[in-house]
């Protein structure tokens, strides 16, 4: 009997699987759980996380076995070249959609900085807004004095950089260095496996994961600093809002990325990946590069400029 992997004249279609429908179930449970939780908090009632946790567990278990299955099939040499190409297409366009997700938040940032803040501050085409409704609001970015401080508590201070001279003592700068380095190391890991140099693969990959963790620790400290020492919070007006939603979702993606890379690392130690077949690793590194690029934009538009 023919084997699709070799015989190009035969199409390959994967077996049906029970995973997807349970992923859908898990996600739905997770989100409904989160919804209950958020609403209870807002209504000031006591609440439970049971549903969200259940959903999370279902989701994790199913995803784990799903990926496991794919990896096994791959080792069994079942998917042919065409199917592997489909994975490549899939991953690249997924990353594109992620880019657009961040684009929405960057859009919000630019809109606020260039339009709404100056209008409310009495400048530009709709300056009448400021003149008439917000006479004592001064347009400035970062906004540390809100139009109505009784509704949105003024942050004591912003996270903005004080100019290149101060960068050496400026943590976001070091975080940039960390992420950029990690992009390079993950690339070395990838070239390593391509040259059948497994030591390089394991070494560089471990380093990358460590750098990811380090970045997260620094970012965690930054948040602590912002909340506890600067009084910069989610509800300190548009500056806090854009700052935390952009860095927050980026941080969330770094967490995911680090976790994915960790999985690849474990696989590497388990002897997975061949010189000519390591898309799992490659996809993870693409994702990591993407997270890195987003951070560079963040560093400039949120911290420096």
């Amino acid at each position: 009997m023919a084997n699709a992997a070799e015989d190009k004249s035969i199409y390959y279609v994967p077996e049906r699987g029970w995973y997807p429908v349970f992923v859908a179930l898990g996600v739905a449970m997770l989100l409904v759980g989160l919804g209950n939780w958020l609403n209870d908090i807002k209504a000031g009632q006591d609440t439970t996380h049971v549903l969200s946790w259940l959903g999370f567990i279902v989701l994790s278990v199913v995803l784990f076995s799903w990926f496991n299955k794919v990896i096994q099939e791959n080792h069994a040499g079942i998917p042919n070249a065409q199917v592997k190409r489909s994975f490549v297409w899939g991953m690249s366009w997924f990353i594109f959609s992620e880019v657009m997700f961040f684009a929405a938040f960057f859009g919000a940032l630019f809109y606020a900085r260039t339009l709404s803040v100056s209008w409310i501050g009495g400048e530009g085409d709709k300056g009448i807004t400021g003149e008439y409704l917000w006479p004592d609001f001064k347009p400035e970015w970062p906004v540390v004095n809100n139009p109505d401080p009784t509704v949105f508590k003024n942050p004591g201070e912003s996270m903005a950089s004080q100019g290149i001279s101060t960068w050496l003592s400026y943590l976001p700068f070091w975080n940039t260095v960390i992420l950029l380095t990690s992009s390079v190391t993950v690339h070395f890991a990838h070239t390593g496996v391509k040259n059948n140099n497994r030591a390089a693969l394991k070494g560089w990959l471990s380093l990358t994961v460590l750098l990811g963790v380090l970045f997260l620790l620094v970012q965690g400290y930054e948040y602590y600093h912002a909340y506890e020492e600067l009084g910069l919070t989610l509800n300190s007006g548009i500056y806090g809002s854009t700052f935390f939603i952009l860095t927050g979702f980026h941080g969330f993606h770094v967490t995911l990325g680090t976790f994915i890379l960790l999985m690849q690392l474990i696989r590497a130690f388990r002897g997975h990946f061949k010189a000519d077949d390591q898309f799992g690793l490659e996809a993870a590194s693409w994702y990591w590069h993407f997270v890195d690029v987003v951070w560079v934009c963040l560093f400039f538009f949120v911290y420096v400029l």
Binding site: W119, I120, K126, I128, T129, E131, Y132, L133, W134, P147, V151
Partner: protein, 421 residues
């Protein structure tokens, strides 16, 4: 094209029988020249067929002004008139294109049927043709864009206005503030739906201005450039008077400025045109355009009345006075949400009857009425009602619907409370 504003002439002058506008001044009638009104009339004795035929005619590039209710009103401002012309221009162009396109299609469907033995040609390209039908539409579009741009630029020609009024949208009423040169408020009042609930719930026959009548209309002088600063207090609303050809969103925390010059005295009606919650359909706009002298008379009368109402703050009232006054204020201000019977629409609009606040300590009650409850539909009425009205309505709420607290709330209590804040 014809600029007749109403389907049928000669028309009788409108007199406002019990129309809530009447209280404003006695000399309304001679200028009561109004679209909604003649439409309503036509409607009551429903000339339906004529209308549908008119409709067909209109769309097949027929007569434009068959009847107002078929088409955009020409209106009473330069702008609205030129918008109307623009509208008709595009409409005609589209109709012509439609006739050509559908004509060709119809002919082909008729002539090239298999049933009449049509043999299929096999051509599937014709570059020259395709270029033509890319160029021609482009030219047509330019022909539309030029006048459109001109009108738009005219609309944006703000400045050198004769007077300025702030228009502020609330759930679900409008506030008009007459402003002096440095934007200080000289006169301010609310303008809410005047149609009785019975008409809305089909318990009584609907008047001819059903849903298009308010207690206090905006009043402006004839032929003067009136600038409006449009904003909102809670959610988005939009201020629209078709006969002026202007519509602007009212946005909380943001100001939009628009202007109009009404060339004809009369009463013009519009509606809120941005979904703003439960009673979005029930916050009409009425503007009365008066000749300058009558406007001045109205204005001074208003400002004195305004001053008097403010003065009431220093008086003390008997309990039954408070109840009477309070009931009026309640039905005008609170009843849309908390309902006339005080039962509310839980959970969104809590009941007043037996509520913890309306039967509990009074300062809490004053506080929520005066300062509102942020993040809910409960507004800060301290900025909307004067001390006397607040005192009356609070007293009423604490003694109506079976609530019976043993306190009497006077304007001074309100003033003390707000002073204490």
């Amino acid at each position: 094209m014809a600029r007749k504003r109403c389907g049928h002439v000669p028309r009788t002058l409108v007199t406002f029988h019990g129309d809530a506008v009447a209280p404003q001044t006695s000399t309304v009638a001679p200028y009561g020249f109004d679209t909604a009104d003649c439409e309503a009339k036509e409607n009551v004795n429903g000339k339906f067929l004529t209308r549908v035929i008119g409709g067909a005619a209109l769309t097949t590039a027929g007569l434009a002004s068959v009847a107002d209710e078929l088409n955009m009103p020409v209106g009473v401002t330069q702008i609205s008139a030129s918008v109307y012309d623009l509208h008709m221009l595009i409409l005609y162009i589209c109709c012509v294109i439609g006739v050509v396109v559908f004509g060709a299609m119809g002919y082909s469907m008729y002539a090239h049927r298999k049933s009449v033995g049509a043999k299929a040609a096999q051509f599937h390209e014709n570059t020259r043709l395709e270029i033509v039908w890319t160029i021609v539409p482009s030219i047509i579009l330019i022909a539309m864009a030029v006048p459109a741009t001109r009108v738009l630029v005219d609309m944006y020609d703000t400045g050198d206005e004769d007077m300025t009024v702030e228009v502020r949208g609330y759930q679900w009423k409008w506030q008009y503030k007459y402003l002096d040169d440095n934007l200080g408020s000289t006169l301010s009042f609310f303008s809410a739906l005047a149609t009785p609930q019975d008409e809305i719930h089909n318990r009584s026959v609907k008047g001819e201005h059903y849903l298009l009548e308010v207690d206090n209309p905006l009043v402006v002088p004839l032929g003067k450039k009136v600038k409006l600063l449009v904003t909102a207090n809670d959610v988005l609303h939009a201020w629209w008077v078709p006969d002026f050809g202007i519509k602007r969103d009212a946005i909380p925390g943001i100001v939009n400025d628009i202007w109009f010059i009404a060339d004809k005295a009369g009463i013009y009606r519009g509606q809120c045109t941005e979904l703003c919650g439960k009673d979005h359909g029930f916050m009409p706009i009425v503007v009365r355009v008066l000749p300058q002298d009558e406007y001045d008379a109205w204005y001074s009368a208003q400002s004195t009345a305004f001053a008097e109402r403010e003065a009431m703050a220093s008086q003390t009232f008997a309990a039954d006075e408070l109840m009477a006054m309070g009931e009026q204020v309640y039905n005008k201000t609170c009843a849309t949400c908390h309902q006339a019977n005080g039962q509310g629409i839980p959970p969104v609009f809590p009941a007043i009857a037996g509520s913890a606040i309306a039967t509990g300590p009074r300062d809490a009650h004053i506080s929520i009425v005066y300062a509102g409850k942020p993040g809910t539909a409960m507004q800060a009425f301290g900025t909307q009602l004067n001390a006397a009205e607040l005192a009356a309505v609070i007293h009423y709420q604490r003694h109506a619907f079976g609530n019976s607290t043993d306190d009497v709330t006077q304007p001074v209590d309100i003033l003390n409370w707000s002073a204490a804040q």
